[in-house]
Amino acid sequence: MFDRRLIINFDFFFLLLVLLLSFLGLMNLKSICSSYSAPLSLFYYRQAYWLLFGLLVLFVIVNVNYINIVRYAYYFHLFSLFLLFAVLFFGKTKFGSQRWLSLWGFSLQPSELAKITFILALSKFFSENISQTPYTFRDLFFPFFILLITFFPIYLQPDLGTAGIIVLIFFSMLFFLNISKKTIYCFFALVLVCLPFFWFVLKDYQKRRILVFLNPELDPLNAGYQVIQSKIAVGSGGFFGKGFMLGTQSRLRFLPEQHTDFVFSVWAEEWGFIGCLVFLLICFFIIYRSLSIAYNSKTVSGTFVSLGIAFLFFWHFLINVFMTLGLFPVVGVTLPFFSYGGSSVITFMIGISLLLNINMRKFK
């Protein structure tokens, strides 16, 4: 019964690369934790457990043909949406935003899971409605509807980082469709017309938030300070870095949110330019491999799922690293396999498992 080709096509090298990245991330977390006392110093163990659990999830998903997964994609996404709306009503509030659901003693962040089901749902739609003629507005009504209904509950939490990622993934996937030129021009015109109108609707504090979002210098005591300290951390790493567990910026707590948003600063400080290069190469290969899996997939749905996941990784890597290097405003976007967080780890593991899954079945 069992198809030997599944084993032959299982991309062990890709999985090893991911495990290597996870290991480096875990090491980095250990360094961060070592400067804290009791409850905080435990993230590192918890992250290890999450990674192991993520691997378990990975081996389960790999055994289910992705075509069947895509078949029920709408239901999966409906479930995600249900959780997203549940968060708005029953969620736990931390640091002024409501993102977590308490389930059986765990804090679940549904917006993480939603990214995957969002990609699956879009892939299902695009693969079933693909045609030779270019897409027009009318054809794209449903995907836009999915985008809006996913975007708003996340935006309202508020979790601008994840909401932005959702939009980026959406347009990244649209890029691969054959859309009529007229529709593209119309769309850009519409966006341009609407922008000033939105500005009027916004309240003062929201306007201010957007301005700070665009220019952290306006908020020099919080976001601006964080960026400066992060840049000092990265820059002071120099060529060889300060060494494992020897980063002064992180040990003296100049870095904010070291274990989530600013993990890369700690890495860059301790491992220097060499360490960053290794990191960038691993990340690049993960994305490159995801795209090649998309390229080689024998089904359109497989191609779109792989593309979506490739861009999920790409945007996460890019925005997080840009942020720590002072090239992008401070938003809460995690660094895959480096940032602490159970929901985030599981989400990226599911992403990897889908890629392996599609790759295994390319000869069917």
Binding site: S37, I67, G96, S127, E128, I130, Q132, F175, F176, N178, E217, P220, L221, G224, Y225, I228, Q229, K231, I232, A233, V234, G235, S236, G237, G238, F239, T248, Q249, L252, R253, F254, A268, E269, G272, F273, C276, L277, L280, C283, F284, I287, Y288, L291, A294, Y295, K298, T299, V300, S301, T303, L307, F314, L318, V321, F322, L325, L327, K364
Partner: protein, 603 residues
């Protein structure tokens, strides 16, 4: 769904775009590579220098808290600068030496200083540790003269709350306290961080969101000694908004002096608009004790005082109103036509219901009385006779008409509602039916009935004006930069009883003070006609006649007196409550007289 890709145009365009996206991604990563090269290789030495002794600091600048003014713009509560001695660990090379020098220079206990530093272990080294709050001028000049030798020490200006009149209306203004974890999490749109002082009581708490400004901050580069070298960015703090209150400082002071050595409360209102002129509770405390965080032994003293200085007795003390309530019973009887104004009852000094004996306060009896005489001389027997013909729920209905049993909604937290018993209430609470004898008690303001001094004052405002009961207001308006909020007078209740009944009651109340046999004689003033009503609430029912001096203090009666003046054109209502003071006519009435005299002499 699977497509044969090799011959498909779709596949071709898709694959073309995937190849294109690989190129774009290579570009993005190359850009990251360049940026890292720039930061770590080209600018590396600069950042290494910046990080070896991180010299960029963010400090918050506290915002001055709003001022509390009286109606006439006298400053009652304000903020003044105080100076704290702080230590920044990161700037200290030899901690032992620095601490020894500080303790030698300022005569501080070195172990105390060490303990303070020890306590902050685990915090980032750039966070200041406060070694001493509120330096004196002498201490400050000593530190400043040696500043260059003292590494890592800074003197920071911190605003301190000053209650200008000292121990003055603490129950109105309240006090500040260190913000707790719950308040930090709730935030309420205000920027709290640990150690901040926030309003915990009185107006300071009620007006927290107005009084508190917005913190500013500085991003600075400092030199090796921790001195500010260059300001990189600055945000100015926004001062808090100012509150104007109705309290009349002189009259308030008079009331507080009269209450000294007594336990109790005084509330004075302007019956026309509800302005709270006096709100005093005794024993009091000095809000200044809390100005920069209260010391433990001071706090203990307040907590352990058996007379509860932290309790605002004017709004939180619930007691039976005693004979003051006879006004309500009389109104109920007149409105329900249960009694005629001319009808007389005989008072032998007691009233027998079955085999129960209800005493009048005057053991010898009042003889024949009509309603007006019964009010003036506060004859209990007469009201027992009325109670015979009145249903308890009817009395409760009229009591509620005047605001008994519900909070007045004054701008202070923790107000109690009091209690107006009904048949339904008793059934629910005790499971037993209402007894006729309990109506007797209620008719003279005893038994289950509970009121607060502020309720008595608002009730009397209604009696005085005869039109409405105003909602008591302390805060008149709030002003700030480009901000103004006015709190107009508000109506709590409309009075809906006949004018005839009202003027009858008002006439009787004038006689309480101004006739020979009136119980409120001691409130009489020559210059102005005072109207009022005494009340003496029993703490325990006395089976035998004690001589007053034999009764232990805690069993002595509570004294009430409530009055308005001038009777023709009421300008002030004063309610006086003295806990375990004795009889209302002898203890509380003189207090009310002095307050009325003071207030009317200047207005």
């Amino acid at each position: 769904m699977p497509l044969n890709f090799n011959e498909n145009i779709i596949e071709k365009t898709l694959n073309k775009k995937i190849r294109l996206s690989v190129i774009l991604i290579v570009f993005a990563f190359f850009f990251l590579f360049l940026r890292l090269w720039y930061l770590q290789i080209l600018k590396g030495s600069k950042y290494i220098e910046l990080s070896t002794n991180n010299r960029i600091r963010v400090t918050k600048t506290p915002a001055p808290r709003g001022i509390i003014y009286s109606k006439n713009r006298d400053i009652l509560v304000k903020s003044t600068p105080s100076f704290d001695l702080n230590l920044i660990l990161q700037d200290v090379s030899d901690l032992e030496k620095t601490l020894t020098e500080v303790s030698g220079l300022l005569k501080f206990d070195i172990n105390d200083l060490k303990k303070k530093v020890e306590k902050r272990k685990g915090h980032p080294p750039f966070e200041p540790i406060t070694l001493r709050k509120e330096l004196t001028w002498n201490e400050m000049s000593l530190v400043l003269s040696k500043k260059t030798d003292l590494q890592g020490l800074t003197i920071d200006v911190v605003p301190k709350r000053l209650y200008c009149l000292g121990c003055f209306a603490p129950h109105v203004f309240g006090f500040l306290g260190e913000v707790n974890q719950k308040e930090i999490q709730e935030q309420n749109g205000l920027d709290y961080s640990p150690g901040d002082l926030v309003g915990k009581y009185g107006l300071e708490k009620w007006g927290e969101k107005y009084l508190r400004g917005q913190k500013g901050g500085l991003q600075t580069e400092v030199d090796v000694l921790g001195n500010k070298k260059k300001i990189l960015a600055e945000i100015e703090p926004v001062p808090g908004k100012n509150i104007f209150v109705s309290i009349d400082p002189e009259t308030q002071k008079t009331a507080e002096n009269l209450l000294k050595d007594k336990t109790g409360a005084v509330v004075a209102l302007n019956p026309q608009n509800g302005d709270v002129l006096v709100l005093a509770s005794s024993p009091a405390f000095d809000s200044n004790l809390f100005a920069r965080g209260i010391k433990y032994n001071e706090w203990e003293k307040l907590i352990e005082n058996p007379f509860h200085p932290l309790l605002n007795k004017a709004i939180q003390c619930q007691q039976p109103p005693g004979s003051v309530f006879k006004i309500v019973t009389a109104i109920a009887a007149l409105e329900e036509k249960a009694v005629d104004k001319k009808q007389k009852f005989f008072c032998p000094g007691f009233f027998k219901l079955g085999n129960r004996r209800f005493n009048c306060w005057k053991r010898g009896g009042h003889g024949w009385m009509n309603l007006k005489q019964a009010l003036v001389q506060s004859c209990d027997c007469f009201f027992y006779n009325l109670a015979l013909h009145l249903d308890v729920d009817k009395i409760a209905y009229y009591a509620k008409l005047f605001g008994f049993g519900e909070a007045t909604g004054i701008d202070l937290e923790g107000e109690k509602r009091g209690l107006v018993p009904t048949k339904k209430w008793k059934k629910k609470k005790y499971g037993t039916p209402w007894q006729k004898g309990e109506t007797f008690n209620m008719s003279i303001g005893q038994g289950f009935l509970l009121t607060t001094p502020i309720q008595i004052a608002t009730f009397f405002s209604g009696i005085a004006t005869g039109v409405t009961i105003p909602k008591p207001r302390i805060v008149l308006r709030i002003e700030g930069n480009n901000y103004k909020k006015i709190f107009p007078p508000a109506v709590l209740k409309k009075i809906s009883i006949s004018g005839e009944t009202l003027s009858f009651i008002q006439e009787a109340l004038v006689l309480v003070v101004n006739s020979e046999k009136g119980t409120g004689r001691k409130a009489r003033l020559n210059s102005v006609t005072v109207a009022g009503k005494t009340g003496t609430a029993q703490v325990i029912s006395k089976k035998v006649d004690f001589e007053d001096k034999d009764v232990p203090l805690r069993f002595k009666d509570h004294a009430w007196f409530v009055s308005f003046a001038p009777a023709e054109q009421p300008a002030i209502v004063v309610a006086v409550f003295i806990e375990n003071g004795g009889s209302g006519g002898s203890v509380a009435a003189p207090v009310a007289r002095e307050i009325i005299k003071k207030y009317l002499s200047k207005n």
